[in-house]
Amino acid sequence: MPHRWGMAVDLDRCTGCEACVTACHAENNIPTVGPEQAARGRAMHWIRVERYWEGDFPDVRLKFRPVMCQQCDAAPCEPVCPTYASHHTADGLNAQVYNRCIGTRYCANACPYNVRFFDFFNPQWPKPLHLQLNPDVSVREVGVMEKCTFCVQRISAVRTQAKAETREIKDGDIKPACAQACPAKALVFGDLNDPESEVSRLSRSPRGSKLLDDLGTLPKVTYLARPSDS
C-alpha cells in the first residue's frame, strides 16, 4: 500500500514560538525578501503561525495556529494549474514542480489556506550566506510558485535509505524540519495509511478537526484543538 503522508498539529502543545518557521527557512532555502518587499506583502513563510485575538482587555485570549500546506486530497490548487506544475503524487503529496511552473499564480488564488508563495524576484543570498543553502532542495527562481513540500527531500532520502537497507520506512523515520525543530512536540508527521502510526492515532483524536473542513478540500493536516477553546 502506498504511503499517505500527513501531519497532526496539537494546538494545545503549540506555544507559538515559531521555531518551525526558522527551521523551515533553513531547510528549504526560503529566501528572506528584505524590508521593502516584506512591506509589499512578499515575505515567504512556508509555515506560519497564525494568531487570533479573542475578546477584549482584560478578558483577552490568544489563539496560535501553525499553517503550512495542508496537502489536500481534493486540492483546489491542482485542477486549476494549466501546466500540471501543481499535481498529486501517489503518496498523496501536493507536488509543486518548479520547472513546469509558468507563474499564473492561479493555484495560489484557488488555495483557501493561502500557503502558496510566489517568487517575485530572484532570491538573494549575499555571499557567503549562500554556503548555508541546502543542496538537497532547489533554489527557486523568479516567476515560480513555491510552498511547503512536507520536506519531500527528507521523505525521499528516507525512502532511498530504507530501500537500500531493504526495509520498510518506520514511523518517526521522517521528520520534516518544522516537526524536528518543534520544542513542544506539537507537530507530528507520519503515514496516515499506517493505522498504528502516531499521526494516525492523533488524527483520530476527538479533538481533531481539519482547517476549513466545510470547503471539502480533504486536508491531510489535522488540528487538535486546545480543550479550553471549545
Binding site: T89, V97, R100, P128, V137, V152, S156, A164
Partner: protein
C-alpha cells in the same frame, strides 16, 4: 562564489568538450583495472554526487606510479603548490531544471555508468556523448518500472 556574467550562456555550448586542467585518460585507468566507482568516484555508491576527485586522490597512486611522466610531474608540482585540479563538470543540470539526481540508488539498481555517461571509459578527455534530456530519464524509468512522478526528480 562565482560571478553571474553573461558567458554563462555560452558555457552550455562549450560544455560538450571542456578544457580540462589535464587530459585525463579515462581509458588508460580503466584498462589498468581501476573501476569508476573505486577511488576516483567512490562517493557515487554512497550518495547523490559522483564527485570529481581531488588531486590528493590522484597522488595516492601517482606518488609511486608513473612518476617519470611529464604530466604526472606536472600534477605533482601542482599539488606541491597547494592547488587542486580544477576539473570541469561534463555532466550536470542547470539550476532551473530543478533536478535532484541521486547516483546511489541507480548504482544499486545496476544501471551501468555508460548508460548515462556514454563510452567515457574509452575516452581520454571526458566528453558529453549522452544528452541527458528528461525524455532520456523518463524512458529508462518506464522500462525499469521506476516512479515517473515529477516529484521523483524535481523538488
Amino acid at each position: 562564489m562565482c560571478s553571474p556574467r553573461l558567458p554563462a550562456v555560452r558555457r552550455r555550448r562549450r560544455r560538450f568538450r571542456l578544457a580540462q586542467p589535464i587530459p585525463f585518460p579515462h581509458k588508460t585507468h580503466i584498462a589498468k583495472g581501476l573501476p569508476c566507482t573505486d577511488y576516483c568516484h567512490e562517493s557515487v555508491t554512497k550518495g547523490p554526487v559522483a564527485g570529481l576527485p581531488s588531486i590528493k586522490t590522484c597522488m595516492i597512486c601517482h606518488d609511486a606510479i608513473a612518476t617519470d611522466k611529464p604530466l604526472i610531474q606536472q600534477v605533482a608540482n601542482l599539488q606541491k603548490s597547494g592547488r587542486d585540479l580544477a576539473w570541469q563538470r561534463v555532466y550536470g543540470y542547470p539550476n532551473e531544471s530543478h533536478v535532484r539526481f541521486n547516483h546511489a540508488p541507480h548504482i544499486r539498481a545496476n544501471v551501468e555508468c555508460s548508460t548515462c555517461h556514454g563510452p567515457i571509459a574509452e575516452q581520454t578527455v571526458a566528453e558529453r556523448n549522452v544528452n541527458l534530456t528528461m525524455g532520456f530519464c523518463v524512458n529508462c524509468h518506464k522500462q525499469k518500472n521506476a516512479s515517473n512522478d515529477c516529484l521523483t526528480c524535481h523538488y
